[in-house]
């Protein structure tokens, strides 16, 4: 016998899984710390690549004066300067990533609350159905 209420709830669940759930369900597979940590590692890699590109563009931009710059400044001093800029650059992006991924996780948690409550209802209905089934010989 089909249980209309259970089918209605399951359809709601399926529609969530196909819509909003696609975005939020993968997030909720992680603990908050893991998700944010992973996001920050990814951001560290991408911001490092971005810095490398920017550095390369900077060199190309100053190509005409590069010999002058190298002659005027001490190489170690220049290296420390570049390293400092790199650390500040990646640190800024780490902070942004921390905020963004925390916010995303909170959004996913809020969105999944409704889904979990529906799931509990479905489980209860299923249990009730199983109990009401006649025992087979």
């Amino acid at each position: 016998m089909l249980n209309e209420e259970r089918i209605r709830l399951m359809t709601k669940m399926a529609s969530y899984e196909e819509g909003e759930g696609r975005e939020f369900m993968p997030i909720k597979q992680y603990y908050r710390k893991d998700y944010v940590g992973l996001g920050m590692i990814k951001t560290f890699i991408t911001s490092s690549i971005a810095f490398a590109i920017l550095f390369l563009c900077g060199i190309l931009y100053e190509m005409e004066n590069i010999t002058q710059i190298l002659a005027d400044r001490d190489l170690t001093e220049l290296g420390i300067l570049v390293l400092t800029v790199y650390v500040v650059f990646t640190a800024v992006y780490q902070v942004i990533a921390l905020c963004v991924y925390n916010w995303r996780y909170s959004r996913a948690t809020a969105s999944m609350k409704g889904y979990h409550s529906i799931m509990k209802k479905v489980e209860k209905l299923q249990e009730r159905e199983e109990r009401s089934l006649p025992l087979e010989d």
């Binding site: 951001t43 991408t46 971005a50 563009c57 190309l60 931009y61 190509m63 942004i96």
Partner: protein
């Protein structure tokens, strides 16, 4: 107003019923315009500068996520630039990678904004984007708008300074690289746009989130006015008075588009506001509920209060009551 609401409901119903086809159709048109404009603007690679290529790309993109269209558009731009000069292409690639790594990671869902911004920049009405994104989405959409604008300004710069990249004379090793970078970094108009868009989208977003009546209307009016003032003063300071007319026109179009968006997505009836106050164990709640303007679907039903008049022919009467023909004559 009722007529407009009826049209809105019809459009909503139509979209609800044919969502898959409408979305695919919109993506196809968007792709068609995007790839067509890229070919018009650049078109340096003859093999790609064909209507068939545009059609095929647009058709493929209509069934794929919008971010694929962004990637395809970037690819097409880079291929055209490579036919012009490898140096310009390399700088373009660097720019796109930078935009992806620095901005794209935090705004992956706003592909439409990234595509629409350069299109509107081409038609000289980019003012629509920051205000509408501030109304519809959050600050993260601004990043996509900026990415689109930067790519547009780079392509525009290449077109304007094409002589620097096509000269057949043997130039110094990195001269073209430097020229391409200077063209991008020295573009003051681009900075003006980026700053204006940032301020506008943040202000619009902040206003429309307020719990005041007509928040969207206030947001769009303030946003558009502020944007217009910043752009006008910016152009005067940069010594580009010829662009002032376009700013005014763009602002007018932006207001019209934003009013349309408000009508479709935020049409509230402030005359029927309800205020509720209640409490639970932890909080007091002060709720303000504003009903949406909604037009009930017209179901035409004709109800008859008088019995339907039926005419019976003489022949039917004869047959029914079995009367002699001669009697009825």
């Amino acid at each position: 107003m009722t007529g407009l609401l009826e049209i809105r409901e019809k459009l909503r119903n139509f979209y609800g019923r044919y969502e898959v086809y409408v979305t695919a159709g919109v993506k196809f048109l968007l792709g068609l315009v995007t790839f067509f404009l890229i070919n018009i603007q650049l078109g340096y690679m003859e093999q790609l500068n064909q209507p068939a290529v545009v059609l095929l790309l647009a058709l493929a993109c209509s069934f794929l996520p919008v971010n694929i269209m962004v990637v395809a558009a970037c690819g097409l731009i880079l291929l055209h630039l490579s036919a012009l000069s490898l140096e310009v292409c390399a700088i373009g690639l660097c720019l796109m990678l930078l935009l992806f790594f620095l901005y794209g990671r935090f705004a992956p869902k706003h592909g439409y904004a990234a595509i629409l911004t350069p299109i509107l920049c081409f038609f000289r009405i980019p003012q629509v984007m920051p205000v509408s994104e501030g109304l519809l989405h959050g600050p993260s959409a601004y990043l996509s708008v900026v990415s689109g604008a930067m790519v547009f300004f780079y392509v525009e710069g290449v077109k304007i300074n094409i002589v620097n990249f096509t000269s057949v004379e043997e130039v110094e090793g990195f001269a073209k690289f430097t020229a391409a970078l200077k063209m991008l970094i020295g573009n003051k108009e681009m900075y003006l746009f980026i700053a204006t868009f940032l301020v506008t989208s943040l202000v619009v977003y902040a206003i429309r989130r307020q719990s005041v009546n007509y928040a969207w209307r206030i947001g769009l009016v303030v946003g558009n006015l502020m944007q217009m003032v910043i752009l006008l003063s910016g152009y005067v300071l940069l010594g580009m008075p010829e662009k002032i007319l376009w700013v005014l026109l763009g602002t007018a179009v932006s207001v019209a588009v934003c009013l349309l968006l408000e009508f479709f997505f935020y049409n509230l009836d402030y005359s029927r506001i309800e205020r509720v106050q209640f409490e639970d164990d932890e909080y007091y709640y002060f709720v303000k509920a504003v009903p949406k303007v909604y037009l009930a679907r017209k179901d035409k039903r004709v109800k008859r209060f008088t019995p339907k008049k039926t005419t019976i022919s003489r022949r039917q009467l004869e047959e029914e009551f079995d009367i002699d023909k001669d009697l009825l004559q």
